[in-house]
């Protein structure tokens, strides 16, 4: 049924435009009228071997004979213009686009894309291990301790979804009295996105058997956007406003996972003790669900011309997104101001300042008492989750461009970006929450000789307190005894008593990046280009290790036109990225 609705939505606007074109062609007989296009009809046969999720990640490949239809029509009559494109291969590989313009007054666009996207299926075979407990009578290793296991409830599942996106937009020029020195335009736009199919979902038991269970999860998501706006241009001033509303609906049934009864991970006993440490066990619960949400936004922008070809531009935007299941709300604000000016005939500068902020509602986490009713238990771990999204950002940027001589330019720009996260501490030795990043970039571009041109760009970036996971790596040793819990042996250690000490991250405190490019031609038949990018980044402010990353990325390409009936092209691109990270494996006895 839904496919029928989509086809109706697809056909109606296209049919309307075709009808309009027919009228144009029939009624207008002047020489300027034109209707042209191409139509192709054919067939396709394919052969598939193995898994096509990578060989044809974005395609539904059918082995039997498929019909293929491509149609492109465009027409012009006076100031009116229209174009329609249709491509059809199968039920999950279609596209349609229509464009109509009536002089300066009306412009309408319609675009529909439908395609298949394949997804991976994690086989989970790395989740399979049993702790060594000794040697058997032959001297071989004997497992029998704690374990990690996996279970795939859909081992032959092939996951993917059909993605459809339908966009339409209408722009209207508002009629004004003829001598009004202003232009007013309105626009309205709709966009629907639908994803229907299946994906892999993982349910994870903890402290039962370290058991990961894979499920096929239905995907049925609908995202709808609507935008309306008004733009006005007056002598020396332009303003614009746009309102946006977006609805996300998860229409699929919620997947469920059976969470096993908690018990000792090796001998299967002590169910009451292990169950008292968990929030839930021995029940089937929903998991891996994306909640419905609604977003409303407003954006305002303005620009004004100043004397001596200078100009200023500013914008403000506000958006509010609400989780329709929990009622939690995320609000974002942004505003920016920019000044652009030619200083001399050879030099121009620009300065921009932007402020952004995000506020996300906190939420209370209400937990049952830890080991409630057990000796030494009853700890209350209720807490309030303060969002890591909350932040205030300031971005300042100054740019200068100078023409050294005709065909040669020098550009410099400096950018400072501060991010102050309300609830995320970034300093292992303090409580600072502010990241400050400064970047200085210089670029030269120009003609070297003849038609050979080059561009060289170098930048240095220094960051104070980049985003890191403070105290998130590697556990401290708690050998021997710890502060005892009443009623418990003083060498029993629970999760909440364990501490981590390592700070890790993959963002640099210092970075040097450079890129060089060379383009040139030999005669009129050969054009070639080459580039190389390098980067060296490091963060030596971490306490567990020094992070490093290096990038090398060269490439060449060419176009050769040996005659007017032949053109050849080719190229090569290479990329190597090296980085490091700290791996930690917790070691305990018991």
């Amino acid at each position: 049924m839904s496919r029928m609705i989509w086809m109706v939505r697809l056909v109606l606007p296209v049919a309307g435009l075709l009808f309009a074109t027919g009228s144009l062609a029939a009624e207008d007989t002047e020489e300027a009228d034109m209707l042209s296009g191409t139509a192709a009809i054919g067939g396709s046969v394919s052969h598939v071997e193995g898994w096509i999720g990578r060989a044809a990640e974005y395609g539904l490949v059918r082995e039997p004979l498929e019909s293929q239809l491509d149609l492109m029509v465009n027409g012009r009559s006076g100031f009116d213009f229209m174009e329609v494109r249709l491509d059809h291969l199968n039920e999950a590989d279609q596209s349609a686009r229509a464009y109509f313009r009536s002089g300066p007054w009306v412009r309408a666009e319609f675009d529909h894309q439908l395609y298949q996207r394949w997804l991976d299926h994690d086989r989970l075979q790395n989740v399979q291990f049993r702790e060594w407990v000794g040697f058997d009578s032959t001297g071989a290793d004997r497992g029998g301790g704690k374990m990690v296991t996996h279970e795939d409830t859909d081992p032959f599942g092939r996951y993917g979804f059909e993605h459809s996106e339908t966009k339409s937009r209408v722009d209207l020029l508002v009629p004004l009295p003829e001598d009004t020195p202003a232009v007013l335009k309105m626009h309205a736009a709709l966009r629907d996105q639908r994803r229907i199919g299946s994906r892999q979902g993982l349910g994870v038991d903890h402290c039962a058997n370290c058991h990961v269970r894979s499920h096929a999860v239905a995907v049925d998501e609908l995202t709808r956007d609507a935008r309306v706006g008004l733009d006005g241009t007056f002598p020396g001033v332009a303003v614009g406003y746009e309102a946006t509303i977006r609805d996300f609906n998860n229409l699929a049934a919620a997947p469920t996972n059976r969470y096993m009864e908690a018990r000792h991970p090796a001998n299967g006993g002590s169910a009451a003790e292990f169950g008292s440490r968990l929030i839930y066990d021995n029940e089937e619960l929903e998991f891996s669900q994306t909640p419905d949400s609604e977003k409303i936004g407003h954006a305002l922008r303005a620009s004004a011309d100043l004397p001596h070809n200078q100009s200023v531009r500013g914008s403000m935007a506000f958006a509010s997104m609400e989780n329709q299941v929990t009622g939690l709300e995320l609000k974002s604000n942004s505003s920016s101001l920019g000044w652009y000016a030619p200083i001399t005939k050879r030099a121009r500068v620009s300065v921009n300042v932007t402020r952004r902020s995000i506020e996300n509602d906190p939420t209370d986490i209400d937990l049952p008492l830890y080991r409630d009713g057990r000796a030494g238990g009853g700890q209350d771990f209720d807490w309030t989750r303060l969002s890591a999204y909350n932040r205030e950002e300031w971005i300042g940027q100054a740019r200068a461009a100078y023409a050294l001589r005709p065909g040669q330019n020098l550009r410099m720009d400096w950018r400072m970006h501060t991010t102050d996260r309300d609830h995320v501490e970034l300093d292992p030795d303090g409580s600072d929450t502010r990241t400050t990043k400064n970047r200085l970039r210089a670029a030269w571009s120009g003609r070297i000789r003849g038609s050979t041109r080059s561009r060289v760009e170098v930048e240095y970036e220094k960051t104070s307190l980049p985003f890191v996971n403070v105290g998130g790596l590697c556990e401290e040793e708690i050998g021997g005894t710890v502060e005892s819990i009443p009623g418990q042996p003083n060498d029993w250690i629970y999760y909440f008593q364990r501490e981590r000490y390592g700070t890790g991250g993959n963002l640099p405190t210092q970075a040097v990046r450079a890129r060089a490019q060379l383009n040139g031609s030999v005669g009129s038949r050969f054009f070639g280009s080459g580039y190389v990018s390098v980067a060296s980044e490091k963060n030596d402010d971490l306490n567990a290790y020094d992070f490093e990353r290096s990038v090398l990325s060269p490439g060449v390409s060419f176009v050769l036109v040996p005659s007017q009936h032949a053109a050849l092209n080719g190229g090569m691109a290479y990329s190597r990225i090296e980085s490091n990270a700290k791996i930690c494996a917790t070691v305990m006895d018991g």
């Binding site: 209707l35 042209s36 296009g37 191409t38 139509a39 192709a40 009809i41 054919g42 067939g43 396709s44 046969v45 394919s46 052969h47 598939v48 071997e49 193995g50 096509i52 990578r54 060989a55 044809a56 395609g59 293929q68 491509d70 994690d122 790395n126 790596l473 590697c474 556990e475 040793e477 708690i478 050998g479 060498d491 029993w492 390592g502 290790y545 009936h565 032949a566 053109a567 050849l568 092209n569 080719g570 190229g571 090569m572 691109a573 290479y574 990329s575 190597r576 990225i577 090296e578 980085s579 490091n580 990270a581 700290k582 791996i583 930690c584 917790t586 070691v587 305990m588 006895d589 018991g590």
Partner: protein
């Protein structure tokens, strides 16, 4: 019942390297006496690998946890090779109509089968039809 000890983490700093190499080529010949030919293709090789993991144990007494991790890094190896080739030939039938025939192959070879199973696969297609302009 033995003591429940917590010895902290065994750890190591490992290197991760990715390498992607791509060659692409194409040719457009014609139209010559009503014939046209378009060829294009690409070869891509993608690799990713960790260095050998050599965990430093946090405590000498933890002999029981002295597992051998020397091969663990290989379980995350990624190595893919993709070769694709597409061709299309056209023959004018009249001033406004032409016949086309095309063929192509995309072959994806998974040389390090692990996390997602064997992702190797190939698609071969042929297509033919008539195109008219007006």
């Amino acid at each position: 019942m033995g003591a429940y000890e917590h010895f902290g983490s065994a750890s190591d700093v490992v290197d991760y390297e990715t390498e992607v190499t791509t060659f692409h080529w194409g040719a457009e010949l014609g139209p010559v006496r009503g014939w046209g030919l378009t060829l294009e293709g690409a070869w891509t090789r993608s690799m990713g690998s960790f260095s050998t993991i050599d965990l430093e144990l946090p405590h000498e007494v933890v002999a029981i946890a002295d597992y051998d991790f020397s091969e663990v890094n290989t379980l995350s190896d990624l190595e893919y090779t993709q070769l694709e080739f597409h061709g299309r030939g056209t023959r004018d039938l009249t001033e406004n109509t032409s016949f086309y025939v095309g063929a192509g192959v995309v072959d994806f070879d998974d040389d390090a089968v692990w996390v997602y199973g064997n992702l190797s696969g190939s698609v071969v297609y042929t297509r033919a039809g008539i195109e008219a302009s007006f």
